[in-house]
Symmetry: C2
Subunit: 426 residues, 2 copies
């Protein structure tokens, strides 16, 4: 169905603070894009098929800016550990299994099925360092109807055999193999360069990835200033860099002309904060993970005030839940603790702001995604909030709050990506 109309109670963000709402209104899809939201259906759309979602909420699909697909299988385990110990005890052994394609198939199928059923329509994903399993994941995602960026991970040091790549040259060669295998293969899935993080990547590898970036023009994802022990380690590994962020910057993989998403950004130094702002790094705020791995609370109000672009990430399996609704309520929650415990000048995030972060804030990394303004790609959720027990005499903004805090995948009745319906599964 290329052209159609949804009728229902609509909400979407147009900027960080503004939630647009319209009751019993019309959202028009033409050729996979929004043609706008209308109180009265314009003449030229009156012959389009109309899907009546009266009484239900219609909102943009949610965007997960940071998630590790191979970590889905061990969500909630090892939560008594901090980042580096958790990586060595749980993450690296689990990721090693993705050399086995049978294992990868069943584990990635479970991951993709979970995302399909949930509210996220877009994800920026870490796979593992294995090329065949990464291509498999991209195949499964393409079939699911979701739109994703996926990275084959680069990591040529400080990880156990057999997960660590044997050399920078091998890692770079595998990356080129992967890129040639996926070139032109998908309509909704695309590759993203994925150096794991500075401790996992030699200078030679980073320099080679910089070359690949210049050749292919790909975006970049990585981790930045998540956990204090990790930051100390980066300082020891890269003593010449003014900050953790500068270590990426020196390799030409940190914003500016390179669309870059950096997960966490919990503990920026003043120099790093200035560089993040200058390079317009997109911060993937992962509040649940930052709690679970005892990392801390990212200064999101400061980033927003400085005009740094911010979105939300589940960071499975640092986070246990894939839903970006959960990331929204967690983002609000930790911002309140940040205000209460650290800085009373940093106002807590409002519901409208958290909703922005989980839709348009992350969606901008994909282009015109995460809103219903005309021309935006038609990613939409239809949510039947009437089965959430409690008050029913509510404005759309309050209904949205109930959905953010209380809904689960059972409340999602329709889901669209670029105008195409996504099967919600069973």
């Amino acid at each position: 169905m290329e052209k159609f109309v949804l009728k229902g109670d609509i909400c979407y963000s147009t900027d960080t603070r503004t939630l647009q709402t319209a009751e019993a209104a019309y959202l028009v899809c033409v050729d996979g894009k929004s043609a706008g939201v209308f109180e009265t259906l314009p003449e030229q759309y009156q012959d389009l098929p109309l899907i009546d979602c009266s009484g239900q909420l219609i909102m943009p699909g949610l965007v997960d800016l940071h998630v590790h697909a191979p970590q889905f299988a061990f969500r909630s385990l090892g939560m008594d550990l901090e980042l580096i110990d958790w990586l060595n005890t749980h993450t690296f052994p689990e990721e090693s299994k993705y050399a086995d394609m049978a294992y990868a198939f069943s584990a990635y199928l479970a991951f993709v099925g979970d995302i399909q059923r949930g509210p996220n329509t877009r994800s920026v994903i870490f796979a593992t360092r294995h090329v065949p399993a990464t291509v498999l994941l991209m195949d499964l995602l393409e079939e699911s109807g979701l739109s994703c960026m996926v990275g084959k991970v680069n990591m040529d040091r400080h990880a156990p055999e057999p997960l660590v790549e044997t050399s920078a040259a091998q890692s770079l060669a595998d990356t080129r193999t992967w890129l040639s295998e996926v070139a032109g293969r998908y309509s909704r899935v695309s590759p993203i360069l994925t150096p794991r993080f500075i401790p996992s990547c030699t200078d030679e590898l980073m320099a080679g990835l910089g070359e690949i970036h210049r050749e292919f023009g790909l975006p970049v994802q990585s981790h930045l200033s998540e956990n204090k022990s990790e930051i100390d380690w980066v300082g020891a590994l890269r003593p010449e860099a003014e900050s953790y962020g500068h270590a990426y910057y020196r390799n030409g993989l940190f914003g500016g002309d390179v669309p870059t998403v950096m997960a966490h950004c919990v503990w920026p130094t003043a120099e790093e904060f200035a560089l993040i702002k200058q390079q317009q790094i997109r911060v993937a705020h992962c509040p649940q993970s930052n709690i679970n791995l005892s990392s801390g609370i990212a200064p999101i109000r400061r980033y927003l005030d400085a005009g740094v672009p911010v979105g939300l990430g589940s960071d499975v399996a640092g986070g246990a839940n894939t839903s970006i609704f959960r990331a929204m309520s967690d983002a609000i929650g930790v911002s309140k603790l940040y205000w209460r415990l650290i800085d009373q000048d940093a106002a807590p995030l409002t519901l409208e702001e958290a909703f922005y972060l989980g839709t348009l804030g992350g969606g901008r990394f994909f282009g015109e995604v995460g809103s219903f303004a005309p021309g935006f790609e038609f990613d939409a959720l239809v949510i039947d909030d009437r089965s959430i027990p409690g008050r029913r005499d509510l404005e759309i903004a309050d209904r949205l709050a109930r959905v953010v805090y209380l809904s689960d995948e059972r409340h999602i009745v329709r889901k669209f990506v670029q105008g195409a319906a996504v099967a919600l599964g069973t």
Copy 2:
């Protein structure tokens, strides 16, 4: 069924740090109490009916030490407000509706149904100040098969008409009416004295409740040192009291011979902490509420180290979720932030400790409740964790972690209170 056996993978706490586990083991119920957990079924129980829950987890029912039944209907609303503004904007207007028995019936029915379907078997509940609606709530709870303590709320100042009680005398007379109506009426539900909090209660009312306590020997629940603005207000209202806790203490309603649960206890002064310890106040730790209302993080490690009894509370609607599994993961989470941001000598709570808090830690307020040691009341959950996607090659402790972070009511397949099956509803 008075005597029966459950077979499955069993876990339960015996103290704050120790999780007992037994695979493919037997839990025996005799006359509503646990007769113990056995690797091999003893001769004398071999003729009892056996419920085969092989492959499923069996654990004690969860205990919610602090929940407001009339606030269930507006969960997730007003989360941009701090405590006092939230009370005035949302809570008090909503609670006023419980003068209307038709409203109370439908709203309390939704609350009780939610608890029935979820993992909690015991709750310590605030109703409203209305006697008929409070009796109705107790009737519905008794019918549900759950075991609960319920309080008609006392509040004779600083609340809007028509919610505020017109005088201490009226509040006390209503309390006596309520107690006579419920006397001998229930097998699993019992009354608890419930002065709302110091700002809502005149000295005369508190003194009268002290008398009622001495006459009826009832336990007491209230709120303590939750939010900074509230604490300042108490200081202004009761300048003679050395602390907020001392204001209760001076009225004879603060532990010692009076079994007392106090919700929150986020900001104890040194004097108050010492009094809590001396009087063995049971702290109802409500981490999600303390986040949502920007209250802060309670120093749970300090309470545990000092031997103060602690349990968990959902504090709906300060908290949005009724499940004490959520309170467990939130308790672990905020304890990590407390360690990271406030006090690196306060070790984060482990999964075992959080599980203890949500079972035996709260259960002790009811007596021999919250464990499977012989003689404990037979409150049990049977959880089929096999449908949670992810790793299956796990020890019971890791399976419990997955249940705490990832399960919902769909995974609960059986639920017992005092040996009787609770209908899980639809």
